[in-house]
Amino acid sequence: MSYPEDFRYTKQHEWVRAEGDIGTVGITDHAQKELGDIVYVDLPKVGAHVDQGKSLGSVESVKAVSDIYSPISGEVIEVNETLAQSPEKLNAEPHGGAWLVKIRMSAPDDAKKLLSAADYQAYIGAEG
C-alpha cells in the first residue's frame, strides 16, 4: 500500500491530512499490519479537545490494545462512526475510508513539522 504524499506522519504511526485548518487523522498501513486483525476502535466524542502527542483513543486487535496518539492539537469536529460497527475496515483501508477523526487544528503549523511520506517510509524501513 502506498503512503500518500499529501499526508504527514508520526513515528507512532498515525497520519494527518491537512486541508486549511481541518486535519483528518488515521493510522498507517504499517500500524494496521503490526496490530493484525482489529476488533475495536475507541475514539473521542465530537467536541473533545485533543493535544498533539497525547492519547486520542485506542485500537484493539485480537492480540493487544494500542493507544493512538494525536498528531495534531485541536477540537474533534467529526468521528468516523462506521468504525464502531466495522473495525476491520482499518485493516483494509487505513489510508482511506477508515480515517478516525477530523480535527479543527488550533495550530495548523503542527502538521508541517511531522514526517513526509518519504521520511516515514525510510523510518519504518529502518525499524522493521
Partner: protein
C-alpha cells in the same frame, strides 16, 4: 523492530523471516507471532491444517535405572502408569505446591523418559530436577538436539502421513512413535496445544527447514497455513489449555488451576505432595473460571475482576475467540463464586465492563466418527 542480538533463534528462524512472518520477542526468543492474519491462521487449524514452529520448547531427557523414580518424584501425575510409547501432561512443582512448570512426560523405554517443557523455563526446570536428583538417573538438557514442529488440524494426519512410513492412524491421542519424517529420525507424538487433532514431531535441528518446507508442500492440497504464536494462543485459550505465566505459575497450585486430574496423591512421595494434601483437606480459596464478555471490551491478562463492585480476582488470559465469535477469558475468583452463570465485571482500562462466568472448555471439537 529493533533486532536484539541477545534474542534466541530456532533452526527455522530464517524460514520464518523469508516467508514474511512478523517476528516478536517471545520470552527471549525471536518468534513468528503471525504470518498473514492471526484469525485466518486460527481458522486454518480448526478447519484444515496449520503448521507451528515450536522449537523454542525445551527437551529434558532422563535416563538410567531409576529414571522412573526420579520422574515420579519431581512430577505430579503417575508416570508409573505410562506404557512405553505413551505421554502424559504433568506438573513440576515446588515444595509449597506452586508450579515450576507444566510439562509433557514421554516414556521412551523403562529407563528413558523424554520431557517437553516450556521454552523460558527450561534451564530452571533442569536445575530444579538436578538439584533434587538423589536417584540413579542422569538428567540431560537436550533442547539443542531437537527442533519441534506442530502439525495441527483435521488434515494434520493426512499431511504428515505423506512424509513418514510410520502408520499414523493407530497412534492414539497422547501416544507417540519413533520413526522418520522426510528421512530424518523423528519422534512423532499425537499431542498438541490447539484443541484439534494433530501431531508434534521432534526432529534434528539441521533437518527442520527441509521438513518444514516439505510439510507446507504436503499440506497444500488441504489449505495448510504456517501459523504464529498469536493463533497458538487463541486456539489454546478456546480449548482452555493452561499457559505458564498466566493460568499457572509459582503461586498457583494444580487444584486452583482446575488441574486436579494431573495430581495423583496416592502414587507415593513427590515434591509438593504434602502441600497439596493439606490444601485438598483444607480446601482451596480461589479457582480458575472461564468467562465471556457481555459488554463491549476484552478482558486481558492482568485486568482486575470485580464482584458486585468489589475487587475479587484477576484475568489470566483473554482474547476474542475466532471460532466462537465471542470475547472470552480465564480468571481467578473466590472458589464459592467461580460457578458458571455468575455476573462479574472486568475492569477494562479503568471502566467496569459486564461479563459472566461460563463452563469450559469454550471450544470442544466434534469427535471423529
Amino acid at each position: 523492530m529493533e533486532q536484539s542480538a541477545s534474542l534466541r533463534r530456532t533452526p527455522l528462524h530464517r524460514v520464518h523471516v523469508s516467508m514474511g512472518a512478523k517476528m516478536v520477542d517471545f520470552g527471549g526468543w525471536d518468534m513468528p507471532v503471525q504470518y498473514s492474519s492471526l484469525v485466518e491462521e486460527h481458522h486454518a487449524v480448526r478447519q484444515a491444517v496449520g503448521l507451528f514452529d515450536v522449537s523454542h520448547m525445551g527437551e529434558i531427557e532422563i535416563r538410567g535405572k531409576e529414571s522412573l523414580r526420579l520422574v515420579e518424584y519431581v512430577t505430579t501425575n503417575a508416570a508409573a502408569k505410562l506404557h512405553v510409547g505413551q505421554a502424559q501432561y504433568s506438573g513440576l512443582l515446588y515444595e509449597h505446591g506452586g508450579f515450576v512448570d507444566d510439562i509433557l512426560v514421554h516414556k521412551v523405554s523403562d529407563d528413558h523418559f523424554f520431557l517437553c517443557v516450556n521454552a523460558s523455563n527450561q534451564e530452571k526446570d533442569f536445575d530444579h530436577i538436578v538439584t533434587v536428583n538423589r536417584f540413579d538417573a542422569q538428567v540431560d538438557l537436550a533442547s539443542d538436539r531437537y527442533a519441534q514442529i506442530a502439525i495441527q488440524g483435521p488434515f494434520a494426519l493426512r499431511t504428515l502421513q505423506k512424509l513418514t512410513p510410520v502408520d499414523l492412524a493407530p497412534i492414539a491421542y497422547y501416544w507417540f512413535a519413533d520413526g522418520t519424517v522426510s528421512g530424518a529420525p523423528a519422534r512423532i507424538a499425537r499431542t498438541g496445544y490447539t484443541g484439534e487433532d494433530g501431531f508434534e514431531v521432534y526432529v534434528p535441528p539441521a533437518d527442520a527447514p527441509r521438513i518444514w518446507t516439505e510439510l507446507i508442500e504436503a499440506g497444500r492440497e488441504f489449505g495448510i497455513k504456517p501459523c504464529g504464536l498469536g493463533a497458538r494462543n487463541t486456539l489454546r485459550l478456546e480449548a482452555k489449555m493452561a499457559l505458564y505465566g498466566h493460568e499457572i505459575h509459582a503461586s498457583i497450585t494444580p487444584y486452583e488451576a482446575e488441574l486436579d486430574w494431573i495430581v495423583k496423591l496416592d502414587k507415593g512421595d513427590f515434591i509438593g505432595r504434602s502441600a497439596l494434601a493439606k490444601q485438598k483437606q483444607q480446601g482451596i480459596r480461589r479457582k480458575l473460571a472461564g468467562f465471556e464478555m457481555r459488554g463491549r471490551g476484552i478482558g486481558r491478562d492482568g485486568y482486575e475482576v470485580r464482584l458486585d463492585g468489589a475487587p475479587a480476582g484477576w484475568v489470566t488470559s483473554g482474547s476474542p475467540a475466532p471460532s466462537l465469535n465471542k470475547n472470552i477469558g480465564l480468571c481467578y475468583l473466590p472458589v464459592d463464586q467461580a460457578r458458571a452463570g455468575r455476573k462479574i465485571e472486568v475492569m477494562v482500562r479503568n471502566q467496569p465492563v459486564e461479563a459472566e462466568t461460563v463452563g469450559t472448555p469454550f471450544y470442544k471439537r466434534a469427535k471423529a466418527a
